[in-house]
Symmetry: C2
Subunit: 411 residues, 2 copies
């Protein structure tokens, strides 16, 4: 088999962990597999480089930051090759230029456009373990770009697609995908199998175990993704076309996203095109809006509320302020002490029982709901950030630990 493995920064943070990963890679290789390994930068290496850059110039150019940060993964792959050689395993390290990972030119948040696999394939044919620097690509100018935080997952999935890997294994510091974050939800359980769509929702809702784009890409190319721990031999979670949870119509997981701020634009004239005007102004400045809620009009005005990331709160408020006359509104209010709690499960949101169970759970623990948003496979509510842990535990216990199947959707 051809297996692509990806190890995160904490798995290669020091010599002991590097040797541990090297032994694991060697085991897979000695079992007769071809292995391609994607690595992140060591532990805090990226943060340390950012601090150095920030000391010199808080407004460092993204092109130069990418040039700087890309060295972190190059160091990881070189060190891992050195460790593998110590174990007698043949290995060669490649940076993004050598591995032919072509990306767009948007420094700091580029997308992989194509991969020329010739060098990797040639090294595999020479019976080498191929170690590829994650998180980076080369653009059409021959310059290094980085793919955004956590994007080494995406590098691994893209390589899996191009090389036709049988499995793409994402090694992390937890032993799989959980029904909720085990650090805050005490009864959280490991999921054995989950569908791409559910995983995409969980990832984008704040479950930090897999990079959002990597799951979307895995779905598109039907890559079998396995999430498992680099520290244990546990089986991990398989992300695949059909998850077992889908068939049972269970809620598959719960996620809490603390990086949320709510903005309400009050007293907007109730006529067509107002929402378009607000959100096109925000989009022009690359501000992503998540949940949008519009009140029912009264006195010929309405209120429009939406959520953004905390980093985008200030810029969004500035844009609204600068365009007050153009849009025409009474006032803007905001709240950055909230969080988004979501439950995810295939087909669940179309079932009224799920929403009411969630609201019941929140009522049980006395948590007030600020906004509600639903989609085909998730329900999200905005609640007070201080209530996040209490609400997550209560909702999780109600849905997942009681193993309640959703009414009327029995298989």
């Amino acid at each position: 088999m051809l297996i692509v493995q990806k190890y995160g920064g904490s798995s290669v943070a020091n010599a002991e962990r590097i040797m541990n990963v090297a032994r694991r890679i060697t085991k897979t290789f000695n079992a007769g597999n071809q292995v391609v390994v994607v690595l992140s930068a060591q532990g805090d290496a990226t943060d340390e480089m950012l601090a150095k850059a920030n000391e010199l110039n808080p407004g460092a150019s993204k092109r130069e930051l990418d040039m700087l940060l890309a060295t972190g993964e190059q160091q990881s792959v070189a060190l891992m090759a050195i460790a593998l050689h110590k174990l007698g395993s043949p290995a060669i390290s490649l940076n993004a230029i050598q591995a032919g990972i072509h990306a767009s030119s948007k420094y700091g948040n580029a997308r992989i456009k194509s991969i020329e696999p010739e060098r990797s394939t040639a090294e595999l044919e020479r019976n080498n373990l191929v170690l590829v620097a994650g998180f980076q690509g080369v653009n059409r100018y021959g310059d290094l770009t980085t793919l955004g935080r956590g994007a080494s997952d995406t590098t691994a999935v893209a390589l899996s697609a191009v090389l036709g890997a049988d499995y793409c294994e994402i090694y992390t510091d937890v032993d799989g995908v959980y029904t909720a974050d085990p650090r805050s939800v005490k009864n959280a359980k490991k999921i054995d199998c989950i569908s791409y769509d559910e995983m995409i929702e969980l990832a984008s809702l704040g479950a930090r175990v897999l990079h959002n784009r990597s799951v979307e890409m895995a779905k598109r190319y039907r890559i079998k993704l396995v999430v498992r721990s680099s520290m244990s031999e546990a089986e991990g979670t398989l992300v695949n076309k059909e998850g077992s949870t889908v068939e049972k119509n269970h809620v598959s997981g719960l996620a809490v996203d603390l990086d949320v701020a709510r903005i309400s634009v009050m007293g907007v004239l109730d006529r067509p095109g107002m929402a378009y005007q607000i959100f096109s102004l925000l989009a022009k400045d690359k501000i992503s809006v998540d949940i949008i809620l519009q009140s029912i009009g009264r006195n010929n005005t309405k209120d429009i509320s939406f959520t953004v990331t905390k980093a985008d709160l200030r810029p969004a408020l500035d844009i609204l302020d600068a365009n007050r006359e153009l849009i025409g509104f009474d006032m803007v209010s905001y709240d950055d002490t909230i969080c988004k709690l979501s439950v995810v499960g295939a087909g669940m949101a179309s079932n009224p029982g799920v929403a009411s169970m969630m609201f019941e759970a929140l009522y049980d623990c006395g948590v007030n709901i600020n906004m509600i948003s639903t989609s085909e496979i998730k329900i999200s509510v905005l609640i007070d950030a201080h209530a996040a842990d209490l609400a997550a535990n209560t909702v999780h216990d109600k849905f997942i630990n009681n193993n309640i199947e959703i009414k009327g959707r029995q298989a």
Copy 2:
């Protein structure tokens, strides 16, 4: 003018020094020059990476070490670009792949073979300061190779040649080339002007201020080299076709090399081909031999003595031992507590006065001479390492501080 500047690792060791260098570069740029800057890795960065590699595997492959170490210079150029942008100076950083620095495949000690200057030229035409990672090249496999310790000087000279620079300025932590190492010879003086040949001898004899190969390349392409301090505004030393010291027939400098070990092969049969046999065996294992001395034969045998670097002492002894029967000798002795003291000056060694003055100085301070070697522009003696400082100061004072011109060679 087009000026290439090279700054060493100590000049970019921390944020304060990087900003200091950035100001200096900006000053040259704002004076209306095109500027290309070659940088080394920050301070101890290279040693720290080597320590990491060594912890994993003391026998790390050179290919992977080069992959690892090349990140040091890439970090330096990215950080410098970030600092220059802070000062409002346009700058772009390039690694060896981007700067088109093609090198041979001998990992760890590659040679620059050619430079494709297109990217650098294009960036200069866009009015950018171009920052190039020193010490590295890319070989025909697309892999990174390093050019040997101190070889960022060579990168700077090679770029000067290809781009047709008017000056190549080597910035270091001393303000020029000295007649001897100022740390051990108290009366050492800065040299204003020195010829290529004298500088080559001084560099290869242990004066660590310029990389040996860089001076050879500067001579070949007639690059005007300037050695000066990144910490002061002092004028520095000009290395050029004709040094003023040449015209005056002075001894231009003195160097002490502590990295020397002597091996003597005793009782070799006195017949043709014996020296060839010994040195071809050593050459096959890439052991460089410096001074060679052969005793006058007695009883149909002779002794052959030579010097190697300390790192090559053990391997050389092993080779001799393994080939004892082939070569045929009585015994081998060695001494690694010696050093090589050399005086350099154009045309001096052909003048008997210089050698005798040197021997007189050593006699004055009671230092015994172990071996003697002369060339057209230098005289080297092997002496006890403990006597290095005493001998260097005495010889230096005799030749250079007395400003004695060599007899019979007056201009």
